[in-house]
Structure formats: structure tokens, C-alpha cells
Amino acid sequence: MLEVRDLEAWYLQAQALWGVDLSVADGEVVCLVGPNGAGKSTLVKAIAGLHRSTRGTIAVDGVDVARVAAHRVGDHGVALVPEGRRVFARMSVHDNLVLGAYRRGARSGLDAGLARVHELFPRLAERSAQLAGSLSGGEQQMLAIGRALLAQPRLLLMDEPSLGLAPVVVDEVFDAIRTINADGVSVLLVEQDVERALEVSARGYVLAEGRIVASGSAAELTGSALVRRSVLGL
């Protein structure tokens, strides 16, 4: 599904990623953990086409999306749940979801997609006409996930979906990740909550200071001293 090779990324002169290799197989949930400022968001944004100052390859089913126009990356099956949700606050919940299906390949699936998202998050159906900016943080997160699902991705990139949410809502978000994955969508999950992330993931990567410092199955990483040190600072 996703094959990142030797990826470097810059913010002007400052390098943020060094030689990152990472892959996500079809139908897999993979988590990416690491301390603040490690470059997790940069990596996710690079895959989604939002950070273009990179070198290396980002192959999605064999196509290097780093060389595809930013607005075309979605056509290769990638959708993003951005850090901080970034829903369109002045648009209604419904319009946010419809916008998710903007790319040509996704429009025919709009009605089915809306039904699926409403089933996954009934609260979005209740709040359909409300402005997204007036939703609670948890509802906005659900909306950000729903919007991405309407793009009909095969690979969903989720950047810290549990950040700042109440524990009950975090449960809901992780349940949703399981359901989405059961529908056949691969997920790359960036998370601060390492234990929860490893629970839903098959494999994981640890990123620190712009480099992958560890990777392995969820079970291996759960017991790893390195993960504790680099992520939890223990």
C-alpha cells in the first residue's frame, strides 16, 4: 500500500527528516510514535502532499506521490485526518462531509459514504446542519475522520486523533479506527498515547529527531525499553 523510502524533509534550511523508511501493507494498521517535534506530522504531511520540500520516494501502490500535484494525491487513495482536526469551521457539518467527497473519483460514493459515516458517528447526523466550528472537540475529531472517509481512501493518515479529548471520546475514536480498518482501509496512526496506539496496531515505528529509531510488531514495541525511553521519556 505505502512504501516510504529514504525520505528527507526540510523547513527551509532546517532538516526535519533523515532517511526515513516506512511501509504500510494492505489492510494494516501501523502506528508512528515519538516525542514532540520528532517529525511525525512532517512525515504524515509529506505523504498527504501537504509538505513538498522532500527528497526520497513515497510510493502508494507503486506511484511516487511526492511527484504528484498536491490536490491529486487523494486520487491515489490517500486521505488525511490532520493534526488539530482542522475542520472547516464556517461550514456546516454536512458541507464538511460533502467536501470530503470533492475529488472526482469519490463523488459517486457520496450518499453511501454519508450513510456509513452517520452510522459510525450518529452524533454527526444529529448535528448535520450545525456549523462545524460550534462542535465540541470530540465531535470535530469525528467530523475530521468522517470527512476523510468520504474521500474513499485505501490509506487513512491520522495525526494524533486523540489529542485533547475526554477519555470516553478517545474510546470512541479508537473503536472507529478498528471499524474503519475492518472495512478494509489501511491506517497510518500518529499517536501520543503509545499504549492505546499499539493496542490497535499490527506494527509500529518510533521516530525521534527525524529518524526511525525502532520498529517492529506491536508486541515487540510494547515491551521495548527504547520505546519507553524515547517516547515516554522514562
Binding site: 498527504a48 502532499g49 501537504l50 500535484a69 498536491a70 490536490h71 491529486r72 494525491v73 487523494g74 486520487d75 486521505a79 488525511l80 490532520p82 482542522r86 472547516f88 469551521a89 464556517r90 461550514m91 458541507d95 460533502v98 467536501l99 470530503g100 470533492y102 475529488r103 472526482r104 469519490a106 463523488r107 456549523l131 466550528g133 470527512r147 474521500a151
Partner: protein, 289 residues
């Protein structure tokens, strides 16, 4: 009675301000370009209507069949250039002011600095009026108002209900995320700027229908039209019609009951006052922005 007549006439005149303001408001709100050249396009639109009607004998209203597509291309081309050159919001103010001056000078070179007005035989609308009950309205202002309603309602519905409309609103809020959902800002921006310029062609026609033009006429529009844009809420096309009607009514009433000379003073005092209470425009609820 005369005050009421003045108020209603003013409201209709406000329709023309709304047509002038609609495109400006949308490109400012959505594309972050403050396009003073928009006034130059309105001016050219007015002169083209004048020229096509007087030299070719085309019905002045029908001239938009030619000027609208032409202006669409000009507007799209300008946006392409703004985009390529990476002109930012405030730089766009300066650049487009320069363009406006160039356009005004060019118009002056082509058509001279004198007032131009379509003669009665090519412009039958100028002298007609329509009476509704006890009130009488000049045909040009009534026509302008009808165009204003059609343009504003159409634009509003497109923004609300179509994929392209939602894409524009999304793009105005968060360009990066919008692009992740497949929105090609270059193409969409050119289409919007083209439509905005097309509306300038219509505004120019509407102005020429009832007024004489000179190359410096845009300076008479800028103040009022900017007031309408800001009062209506930048990027809010529905607000433009409401603000246009209010501004038109207020200035007409002040002119009729007090003095035409005082009208700008009262108008802009009222606008400043309104913006103190509604800083993001009449229709924008606090916090929704």
C-alpha cells in the same frame, strides 16, 4: 411621500452597488486578493457597452453577451498572473491599484477624457420609467436591481449547494487541507476571478445604461463599493445585496431631506458606527468567523 420615493429609489440604486461589490467581495474573501482593478474592469465594461451600442447598434443590455465572456477571460488571466507572481493580500492592493490607473489612462486615450453617454436612440432604457402604484422608478435602476437580485441569489446558491461552491468556501478557510481533499486552487481561483470579472462587465453595462461615464468615474465608486463589501462581510455575497440596499437608501434619503453634499459624511459615519457593532459585517455572527 417624497422621502419614501427617495428611499425606494435609493434602495434600487443600491442594487447597482451590489453588482459592483459582489465580485470584489468574493475574490477578496476567497482568494485573498483585494482587486482594485475590478473597478477598472467595470469601467471598461461600461465603455464597451457604450461602444458596442453606439457604433454597432447592439441593444445595450445585450452587449453583455459579448462583454461577459471577454471579461471572464481577462479576469481569469489576471488571477493566473497574480498566482504565478505570488502576490499577497496587501501587495495585491498596490498592484491592482497600479492596474486600475493604467486602465483608466488607457480608456482615456481610447475614448478621450470627456463624458460619454449613449444617445437616446441606441439606449431606449435611459428615458423610460416604470410606475408602481404611486411611485415612479427610472428603468435603468430597476433593471440594475433585478440583475443584482439574480446575480446575488445565483452566486449564493452556487456557494451553498454545489461542489465548486463548497470547495471555494473550504479553500477560503484552510488552503492546505482543502488541497488534501482534491481542490486545485489554481483552477478554482481562475474560475472565480473570471466570474467576478464577468460580473464587472454586467456592472459596467448597468452603469452605462443610466449614467454618463468618464475615465475617472471609478474614483466615485471605490468608497461606496468598499463600504458595501465590508458592511456586507468580506466574501459574503448575500450581505452585499443587503448592504448595497442600506447604503443606497441612506444616501438617497440624506440627499433628499438634507443635502446631497452631506450624504457621504452621514453615510460613512453610519458605516463606521455599524462596523463598531458588527466588525465582520452585518450578517456575520460573532465567533462564526
Amino acid at each position: 411621500m417624497t422621502t419614501l420615493q427617495a428611499a425606494l429609489s435609493g434602495a434600487l440604486v443600491g442594487g447597482m452597488f451590489a453588482v459592483m461589490a459582489a465580485g470584489l467581495s468574493l475574490t477578496w474573501g476567497m482568494l485573498r486578493v483585494i482587486n482594485l482593478a475590478h473597478f477598472g474592469l467595470i469601467l471598461v465594461g461600461a465603455y464597451l457597452t457604450f461602444e458596442l451600442a453606439t457604433s454597432w447598434g447592439i441593444d445595450p443590455i445585450l452587449t453583455i453577451v459579448l462583454t461577459v465572456p471577454l471579461m471572464f477571460l481577462v479576469g481569469a488571466g489576471l488571477q493566473w498572473a497574480f498566482d504565478r507572481l505570488g502576490v499577497e493580500e496587501f501587495a495585491s492592493l498596490l498592484v491592482s491599484f497600479g492596474l486600475l490607473i493604467i486602465v483608466m489612462q488607457t480608456v482615456s486615450n481610447v475614448w478621450s477624457a470627456d463624458f460619454q453617454r449613449m444617445p437616446g436612440d441606441v439606449n431606449p432604457y435611459a428615458t423610460q420609467s416604470v410606475s408602481l402604484g404611486r411611485f415612479v422608478f427610472p428603468a435603468p435602476t430597476l433593471i440594475a436591481f433585478v440583475f443584482a437580485v439574480v446575480i446575488v441569489v445565483t452566486a449564493d446558491q452556487v456557494l451553498r449547494r454545489t461542489f465548486a461552491g463548497r470547495a471555494l468556501r473550504a479553500f477560503a478557510e484552510d488552503r492546505a487541507v482543502a488541497s488534501a481533499f482534491g481542490i486545485d486552487h489554481r483552477r478554482l481561483g481562475m474560475v472565480l476571478a473570471g466570474l467576478s470579472a464577468a460580473s464587472a462587465a454586467v456592472a459596467g453595462m448597468l452603469f452605462a445604461l443610466g449614467n454618463a461615464v468618464t475615465p475617472s468615474t471609478p474614483f466615485e465608486w471605490i468608497g461606496v463599493v468598499f463600504a458595501v463589501v465590508i458592511l456586507g462581510g468580506i466574501g459574503q455575497v448575500g450581505g452585499v445585496l443587503l448592504a448595497g440596499v442600506l447604503v443606497g437608501t441612506l444616501s438617497a434619503v440624506v440627499s433628499a431631506t438634507w443635502s446631497p453634499a452631506l450624504s457621504p459624511l452621514v453615510l460613512f459615519s453610519a458605516i463606521i458606527l455599524a462596523l463598531l457593532f458588527r466588525p465582520y459585517g452585518l450578517l456575520t455572527v460573532r465567533g462564526a468567523r
